[in-house]
Amino acid sequence: MKMKKKWYEYLWIFSAAYIVLGFFNILFAWLGLLCFLIPLVISIAGGGKAYCNLYCGRGRLLGLLGGRLGLSRGKEMPGLLKNRWFRYGFLAFFLIMFSNMLFVTYLVFSGAGSLREVVTLLWTIKLPWHWAYNSNVAPWVAQFAFGFYSVMLTSTVIGLAAMALYKPRSWCVFCPMGTMTQLICKAKNRRLLPKSEIQRT
């Protein structure tokens, strides 16, 4: 009965390692671009939400910790968090903060700003992180790494909180990447959407 595990069932290791490596060297944060570009490329190329459904390490990690390890209350999440407009709003907020991060990187690149060796948790809490940066890369390369790691750490923390409070993969309901890839799929397959959906949106 026991089936052989597929390679992608181990992708949670990537997500866990990502967070850990960032403690030691912030430049590993650049690897996070993969979690950003791969899902977009898959859905733009017509692969649907295969990233969420199979390959996302984040989703697998939450499923594993909350499911197999039982670190989740397994309760239904509140209506607000699964409301469509909340999801779109959260995606918009996320994109604004992401653009802001890119802008800060640009300022450092252009010399108008100086590198800040901090990781910002939940967009407000500044954590000192200087020990993870000691290389001689260009300052903007490091600034991007600090910014990107902040995004990843923040979403991991929210994801873990949602996992603990509600069901294991509750984060996936309002995850900006998930929302974005679903929107791409819906835009690509507009004609296949049920009529009721088109009228309601």
């Binding site: 649907g48 699964k82 069901k167 294991p168």
Partner: protein, 72 residues
């Protein structure tokens, strides 16, 4: 519906496809492999395969699946 008591209506899973986020958490939970994600948009249930066990409803983090006697 209610006047056909003698005909046993089978319980089937139904997805709220308007709300579904297509995360796919429900897919591996189904022992009959009855659920698939339709073009990355929402989950669909193959009612021929579904036996109404409710495992998918439990797996959906947002509770977008209900199991009830199907209207046929």
């Amino acid at each position: 519906m209610s006047d056909t008591r003698t005909v046993r209506a089978a319980r089937k899973a139904q997805v709220d496809s308007f709300s579904c986020v297509a995360c796919g958490c429900c897919v591996p939970s189904c022992p009959r492999k009855a659920i698939s994600i339709f073009k990355g948009m929402f989950a669909t249930v193959d009612t021929e395969l579904c036996v109404g066990c409710g495992k998918c409803a439990k797996a959906c983090p947002a509770g977008f699946i209900t199991v009830s006697e199907a209207a046929q």
